[in-house]
């Protein structure tokens, strides 16, 4: 009986930590992850559990007597579908629709499946967004094809370099460099009208909007460690983009 209770608690801890890991890797807010984990723990009769979540690791302590567990988070990207799926599983666990084992199995499936859109569709979406922003920010219609193509190219470059090198800031720097060079080229060739709006429109898909929003929300919710570190990540991304564009403009 005691042995069975022990394995069940181990399973519960694995389940909570996996849920937290998937959510943090997919770009959820820290307070949302903490809330999810605590709710799941309460549903499994662990009343005084604590968790401490940073963007690079999650600690979870079920109670005073039991050992604290830790999980390391290595890579983060934006995949909101996973956040929604884990949230749905935890909702069903809390409401009693799923047993712990079923919930853990579903989490494992979510962890191993790739939900992202194919890269061609993502590039197309980035290109469409660039074109829309060009017009919204006051650009002329004759610049639309250039913003469309440059935005798509830059997004594709960033994604490719990210897969190859795993260094996010380098990828964003090169992406911004591509945007600046191509936009200058278009202007020098006499095809485009306004360098500034073409660059701003094309840069929009690379802007760290999710990081900035999350950083502020975490800070406001009192998660200072993760708020500051996400803010630092956002600042570095913005700096990489700015440096890439500035390098081209300075010639």
């Amino acid at each position: 009986m005691n042995q069975a209770g022990e394995t069940r608690r181990e399973l519960a801890l694995d389940c909570f930590l996996l849920a937290g890991k998937i959510m943090m890797e997919s770009g959820a807010e820290t307070y949302r992850i903490e809330d999810t984990m605590i709710r799941m723990a309460v549903s499994q009769k662990m009343m005084d559990s604590h968790c401490f979540i940073t963007p690079t690791g999650i600690m979870f302590s079920p109670s005073n007597e039991m050992a604290t567990r830790f999980v390391r988070i290595n890579s983060r990207r934006t995949d909101l579908e996973r956040v929604a799926l884990v949230n749905a599983v935890s909702r069903r666990l809390v409401s009693g629709e799923l047993t712990l084992q079923q919930a853990y199995d579903e989490m494992l499936i979510i962890d191993q499946t790739d939900y992202m859109f194919p890269i061609q569709i993502q590039v197309l979406a980035a290109a469409v967004a660039s074109g829309c922003f060009l017009i919204l920010l006051g650009g002329g219609w004759q610049d639309l094809p250039f913003a469309f193509i440059i935005g798509g190219t830059a997004f594709y470059t960033v994604e490719t370099i990210l897969v190859q090198t795993r260094v996010k800031f380098f990828a964003e720097f090169v992406g911004a460099l591509v945007i600046g060079s191509l936009a200058s080229l278009v202007i020098y060739a006499g095809l485009g009208q306004d360098l500034d709006t073409i660059i701003i429109g094309s840069v929009m898909p690379l802007v760290p909007g999710l990081l900035i929003t999350n950083a502020v929300r975490d800070l406001m919710a009192g998660h200072f460690v993760s708020g500051l570190s996400k803010g630092a990540e956002a600042f570095l991304t913005a700096f990489a983009i700015g440096a890439g564009i500035a390098l081209v403009l300075s010639f």
């Binding site: 909101l80 799926l85 980035a126 967004a129 999710l210």
Partner: protein
């Protein structure tokens, strides 16, 4: 100012960002609607008061409000809806102008653009938080009931 065109473009842009951020397939249209409402309210305030900080606050407030309502409806985290809607309000052009001024050794102008960008980022944050507090007050009773049901309250 061409309202239907701007509405359509901001809808398309927010939907496209939904694809880039991989929001669940069935919420893509809702993401577009969130982005559209945020951008239209931003533009309306900007044309009425000619102050981009206030306008951004209003836009972010609208985005968070609509995202919160949709999150309740779809039973999904609010972040799924709010991110794509926030992106059009991000002060990209001011940050860009500030950086270009630095490259041109025009530091005074760069500082004024950077301060503007900072103020607008703060306005986005304040808009999000204010809407959140408002919605929490509205949903407080409901949340209390749910918490009592799953045993989160201490007494």
């Amino acid at each position: 100012m061409n309202w239907p065109l701007e509405a359509f473009l901001s809808f398309l842009a927010a939907g496209a960002f939904g694809v880039v951020f991989n929001t669940p397939r069935r919420t893509l249209v809702s993401c577009g609607l969130v982005g559209m409402s945020g951008w239209l309210i931003y533009r309306m305030f900007f044309l009425m008061f000619d102050d981009s900080v206030q306008a951004t606050f209003a836009g972010a407030f609208a985005v968070a409000l609509v995202a919160h309502i949709l999150a309740k409806k779809f039973k999904m985290p609010m972040i799924v809806f709010s991110i794509a809607g926030i992106i059009p309000l991000v002060p990209g052009s001011r940050a860009y102008n500030s950086m270009r001024s630095i490259v041109e050794n025009n530091y005074l102008e760069a500082i004024s653009f950077a301060a503007d960008a900072l103020m607008i980022s703060g306005a986005i944050a304040m808009g999000l938080v204010f809407a959140e507090v408002l919605m929490q007050m509205v949903f407080k009773q409901q949340a209390k009931r749910i918490q009592k049901k799953i045993g989160m309250t201490r007494n």
